[in-house]
Amino acid sequence: MAKVLMKGNEALAEAAIQAGCRHYFGYPITPQNEVTAYMAKRMPEVGGVFLQAESEVSAINMVYGAGGAGARVLITSSSPGISLMQEGISYIAGAEVPCVIANIMRGGPGLGGIQPSQSDYFQATKGGGHGDYKLIVLAPSTIQEMAELVQQAFHIADKYRNPVMILGDGMLGQMMEPVDFDILKKEENKIEEKPWATTGMGTRSKRNIINSLELDPQVLEKHNIEIFKKYQKAAKEEVRYEMTDCEEAEIILVAYGTIARVAKNAIELAKRENIKVGLIRPISLWPFPEEPFKKTRDHVKAYLTIEMSMGQMVEDVKLAVNGQKEVHFYGRVGGMVPEPMAILEEIKKIRGKK
């Protein structure tokens, strides 16, 4: 297959199917409706299941059931729908069930708007539901990368028996770009045996139980510690990021997803004025990449985090920079998108400071 022109939401759906996902549960919400429409059409063609649930609450619990029963399963939504899923996500993490969840973010809080946003960063990376757990969170910045990360997400979910979240925004979901599915790593599509799944006992002598309840505090503490060992492993093995023009940069921009693309335009504008600006683009938002900050914080003057939020990822940037350099923030919200010229202005303000 050569390159095909696709919307981000469609590429998300197709990549999941190519990764062996045959079960999709969802509920309509803008700006991710293309996923449900695509899946409704495509799943029957590949012998899979598309089910429109009565709510996101129900849909995420269908995911819990299907993932527990051994299937590669996808659920997608946008911000308000993802809020409704938090109970289920906590159970899924607690019961160690793999699945892939995509949040194509829109502006909030509340019903907010339908324009792109990045204001669910905290919810995605810091918990969202109750209890101590983590999602592995991946943030694509192009539609090609959307396809690649969705495929990797299924692999990572199975590897850790943990939910993985794809965090994109409405822009990425709606825009069209050429995608090449051929170059995706096919070996990751091989689905490994899941001897723990509820498939019916058959000839197995031990019952399989998918569960997050444990009333004995000692055992529950141990369970939490075991889960966190997985997260420690993920923190070593699943860190992903991109660095652009950082070596000689005076100021380094930090941005993820589509905003990283806007940041690259700002870097070009800065170049014309002989200002050396670099970019750190976290691809895994959890685990958050600390390496690129360690590598650059000695020579850089300051960091400037740019988000479509009131300032969420900037907190992780500050943790990574650890007080050694200034960390600035520029954000637009409500569906407004930071513009390259405005970013350049912020850069100049920082340079002007002593």
Partner: protein
């Protein structure tokens, strides 16, 4: 020596944690016996609720998933869509099924989801210590209706069988009780019909069991059984509410 009675293979050896005189245990045994008799234990996948039966996954001798409060029918849907040829059932209380999980219940039935739901109506929240349930009777005193359930404040108890039997997707709906031997035997027959409906791929089946909670009703086990008969049964008439299955009609 002749064997007169044997514990069903459908239950594990884990002792029940239920209070003395609680009928949850009887219903567990019936469901387990039915699965053994139908020969489906090796392909059964059960979903436990949040409620007194939360540990059902310790008792049924088959693969099990533990669901969040009220979400069992959605979890069962996910499982069934992955394994359409396996036997998937939920076991839920009235708070679980008819309050917090009403949407999941109604829509699983509306979709004609080919699962079997065992619904324990004990007119109370057992596990949390005796609060009003959606099925608590008018006048019933509970922790949260200390002056009795009043329609002005709390509305009316929900009749799930009547409600669900209006849905096309429902294939077999029956309300039974377990307050004496005759009714226990009939309850078992009903449960068998429901599982048979699923085996025959007829769609959603549910058996509502009027059940006792002596602990939170503040009664002795015998008084509690009598309360089911005298107080619950008149409001919740026993019987088959939906039966779309010729073969099951003959069974019954």
């Amino acid at each position: 020596m002749a064997v007169v009675f044997q514990k069903t293979k459908g239950l594990t050896d884990t002792p029940f944690h239920y209070c003395p005189g609680c009928t949850h245990g009887i219903v567990h045994r019936l469901v387990a016996e039915v699965m053994e008799e139908l020969g489906v234990l090796d392909k059964a996948i059960g979903v436990a609720p949040v409620g007194c039966a939360v540990f059902a996954y310790e008792y049924f001798n088959c693969d099990m998933q533990e669901a969040a409060h009220g979400r069992a029918p959605a979890v069962a849907t996910g499982i069934k869509r992955v394994h359409p040829d396996k036997i998937v059932f939920t076991y839920q209380g009235d708070g679980d099924l008819a309050a917090i999980g009403t949407a999941e219940t109604v829509h699983a039935a509306a979709r004609g989801e080919n699962i079997t739901v065992i619904f324990i109506n004990n007119a109370i929240y057992g596990m949390t210590g005796g609060q009003m349930a959606p099925t608590s009777l008018i006048g019933q005193e509970t922790l949260t209706t200390p002056y009795g359930r009043k329609p002005e404040n709390n509305g009316y108890p929900i009749k799930m069988c009547e409600m669900l039997s209006t849905l096309e997707g429902a294939s077999y709906i029956e309300r039974v009780s377990v307050y004496d031997v005759k009714h226990v035997l009939n309850a078992k027959k009903a449960i068998k019909n429901a599982f048979t409906a699923q085996i025959n791929k007829k769609g959603f089946s549910m058996i509502e069991v009027l059940s006792s909670c002596p602990t939170n009703w503040g009664m002795s086990p015998n008084e509690a059984l009598k309360w089911i008969k005298d107080k619950m049964e008149p409001y919740y008439p026993l019987g088959v509410y939906k039966n779309t299955l010729e073969e099951v009609k003959q069974n019954g």
